[in-house]
Amino acid sequence: MAQSSLFRPSLATPSSPHAHGSGGVGSVMGAVVIGLAPVTLFSVYLFGWPALFLLVVTLAAGLATEAVLLRLMGRPVRAHLLDGSAVVTCLLLALSLPASTPWWIAALGAVFGIGVGKQLYGGLGANPFNPAMIARVMLLISFPKELSTWPAVKPLFSGSALSFSEGLRVTFGGDKAPALPPDAASAATPLGHLKTELTLNRTVDEILAEGYSHTQAIFGTFSGSAGETSALLVLLGGLYLWWRGIIDWRIPGSMIAGTAAMALIFHVYDPSAFPGVAFHVFNGSLLLGAFFIATDMVTSPTTPRGQLIYGAGCGVLTYVIRTWGGYPEGVSFAVVLMNACVPLIDHYTRPRVFGKERAGGPPLGSQE
């Protein structure tokens, strides 16, 4: 046994465990992107070129911001860009904006979301608020007009589709954009339409009788932000994430249940002033929020009970803002508000530790 032939590890010999399950941050984020793919592609189909330009602009601005800030902070740029978290943030932001959003607003949102919402707090894992939602809330407050002007549905390959150059003008033309055909300019989302009409002393039934149907809401041919369109495709993506084990049922389940429970209570109380459960669930970005936004790992609780509380809070707040707030949709505000409660929720919902009365408590069977 010659001493020189003995094994000397070239690699570090850290402490156990010496085995690791498959998957990494990149694969988590990759799964989210795959889950978002159906609704993203559908939105491009539905709104045409501007939706695609919006995606490109948001991603480019967000990734550039991430790269510059990582470099400034002396962190490994490549490793962090490849973790995919910035891609997910930008994708979610783009999906929450109207397809007709001018490029500079989208870019500003992405720079703000990544720069202020994420990197200023310390980067991946350190941000208390969902960066995409912080950016959307900032834009909504700063540019209420642009953020609530929804383009009419103009599917690609259909007669009404915008041409490439028309699309360019929508996204990049700014105020100098030539007037589009009048009906191309805007359309109301069902939530927005209902909110406006309810102020005119009409009943829910009357309003919804004018061309609204759940089928359309589910398949997504109403206007809205890209991610608000097809409830079915969002659900599909969400189920994919659940199947992959990236998310569990607690946050989406409790968030949808939260909104649904509120909707049920008030609908039963006064059906003429409060639409029913299905309307609230299939419209707006509740499903997108429940499966893709509120489930953002960094900004949601890690304890099982905490996730239920947080999800229910998001759901209830969404309903409250939709019904009594100034905006027709409340998911982004609801999520940001609940994000702020996460440390508190996590602290008070720690699971009971093995052999103890409770987390941090005395051993089982002992007198306090």
Binding site: P9, H18, P304, R350, P351, A359, L364
Partner: protein, 546 residues
């Protein structure tokens, strides 16, 4: 297989979380236990257990027979070490220890004479004529320690005391660590002996019932144990769910008996004594044949070793020798003693095989996960996986930020370091490493505080003494002055220094017990009220046996 599954339903894991890592057991599960020929030179460390190292009981040049005591137990938490073969002691010196530190430790080197001659043995097949205390003594003298991996002296576990009535002996055949199959093979090949060992243990602790718990992925072991248990009405063989860390003591007890061992307490507090199947086998050899513990079965496996195998090996051959018996290795990236989830990575193949060595895993470079750590993304996978229901991500942040007070509030000392959290972590964070760091920092701080207290007490004692002497002088002076009887002031009887020294020694002993119970299934954090002796016991055995 199907047959026994019908007879023995699979008990589900009743603990929270857990993981299902790739098993890699197929590499060795079909390789029968093979005996490694006794090598020419054996390096036998004097510490192969938790507790105080044994004290060398031989001199260089002495001739020893197989089974002779070469190291005497030192103190309560300690066991003797025996000569694994007959031969001559050629050195008593420091030799590389099988420890992740890569440091050396006192070791007796024996050159084998090839006769392998036994010392005088005292077999007691009639063990039921012995008193339980005598059996415990014999088990201690035989050097028995938990063979699941941590090496806690067995005799201590067999002495739960009169206020802890034990009704069940739980034989741990969980072996949920990947790669390891040594217990599986032993159960298949020596089921009768294992059950006899279990009966000896049950007799010693006064338990009426024996339960053998085996993970469902070992159907042949289950069949073999079932077959061997026919005609023993007090023995029950149960299959348990395949879920790591099923082999962890408290997790297994909960799943099999439904009893939850309170934090900081012992299995005996819920009426259970838990022993690894290998330990039961060794107890049988020790009592019925009178043989001390000088060899064990080890699984040699991993992608880098040419012929993975289960070997019965005497203690002392360098790992290099054992690897050579398995066709050698190539492209070695990491050498692990124990399983990959709680084992320790060794720096070289020079250290010897010891009592705790249940596995030697030779991982290739490709098998070593080399991904860089990313920040925690709070995904909560660790919270879901923790078999103790801790919040590992918070503990990580607190440990990293050196918030040692708060990390204890997050039940740091309940962590069993099983590695589930780090295994699932998508950011590839070395979570367990941070917990160990925090634990050792906290223990070091406590030791420091203890030292400071001792110093303070010493100073106080000195001040008191000086004061007393002054007063005595004064009294004498006064006495002289008054020309009274000249009676001396009485000396105080209790010397505070002596008291302080005694306390310090006691504390040191406790700290050692805790620190060496490093895998810490039951760290002493929660048992500050217990007496010193019980504290040492709380450093539970067999955390490695998962």
């Amino acid at each position: 297989m199907v047959e026994h599954e019908q007879r023995t339903p699979i008990l589900p894991a009743l603990f929270h979380g857990g993981i299902e890592p790739a098993e890699h057991k197929g590499l060795t599960s079909e390789s029968p236990i093979r005996r490694l020929p006794v090598p020419a030179v054996l390096h036998v460390p004097l510490k192969q257990h938790i507790g105080n190292p044994a004290q060398a009981a031989v001199q260089v040049g002495d001739r020893v027979r197989k089974g002779d005591v070469i190291g005497k137990a030192d103190g309560f938490v300690s066991v003797p070490v025996h000569a694994p073969t007959s031969g001559t002691v050629t050195a008593i010196d420091d030799y590389p220890a099988p420890h992740p530190s890569g440091l050396s430790a006192p070791t007796v080197t024996i050159e084998a004479d090839g006769t392998d001659e036994w010392t005088d043995l005292d077999p007691r097949p009639d063990y039921e004529t012995l008193r339980p205390a005598e059996i415990r003594g014999r088990i201690r003298e035989a050097g028995l320690v938990g063979l699941g991996g941590a090496g806690f002296p067995t005799f201590i576990k067999l002495n739960p005391g009169p206020d802890r009535p034990v009704d069940t002996v739980l034989l741990n055949g969980g072996e949920s660590e990947p790669y390891l199959t040594c217990d599986d093979r032993l159960m298949r090949e020596r089921p009768k002996e294992i059950l006899q060992g279990a009966s000896i243990i049950a007799y010693t602790v006064g338990a009426k019932r024996i339960v053998v718990a085996i993970e469902a992925n070992k159907p042949q072991a289950i069949s073999a144990m079932l077959g061997a248990s026919a005609g023993w009405p007090q023995i029950e063989v149960v299959a348990v769910e395949n879920r790591y860390p099923m082999g962890a003591e408290k997790q297994l007890i909960l799943s099999v008996t439904g009893r939850e061992v309170p934090s900081g307490r012992l299995p005996a507090d819920v009426g259970v004594v838990n022993q690894n199947v290998g330990t039961a086998f060794a107890a049988y050899r020790a009592i019925v044949h009178g043989e001390p513990l000088i060899e064990r079965v080890v699984t040699v496996s991993g992608g880098a070793v040419a012929e993975p195998a289960n070997l019965a090996v005497r203690f002392g051959p360098p790992i290099e020798t054992i690897a050579a018996a398995c066709g050698g290795y190539a492209d070695l990236g990491r050498l692990i003693m124990g399983g990959p989830l709680v084992g320790s990575a060794l720096h070289s193949t020079e250290p010897p095989m010891v009592k705790e060595t249940n596995g030697l895993i030779f991982q290739t470079r490709a098998e070593v996960s080399g991904a860089a750590a990313l920040p925690c993304i709070r995904c909560g996978a660790c919270v879901e996986a923790c078999p103790v229901s801790l919040v590992p991500n918070e503990m990580y942040h607190l440990a990293r930020n050196k918030e040692f007070e708060r990390v204890q509030d997050y039940d740091l000392f309940d962590c069993i370091e099983c590695g589930c959290c780090a295994w699932v972590c998508p950011s590839n964070l070395p979570l367990v490493h941070y917990y160990r760091y925090a634990k050792s920092e906290i223990q070091a701080k406590e030791r420091e505080k203890e030292q400071a207290d001792i110093a303070r007490r010493r100073t106080e004692a000195r001040d008191a003494r000086l004061q007393r002497e002054k007063e005595e002088k004064e009294a004498k002076r006064r006495a002289k002055k008054k020309q009274a009887d000249g009676g001396k002031a009485e000396k105080e009887s209790a010397d505070p220094r002596e008291e302080a020294a005694r306390k310090a020694a006691e504390k040191r002993r406790r700290m050692r017990g805790e620190a060496s119970g490093e895998a810490g299934t039951e760290q002493a954090g929660g048992s500050g009220d217990a007496a010193a002796g019980t504290d040492a016991e709380t450093a539970s055995d067999e955390p490695n046996q998962r």
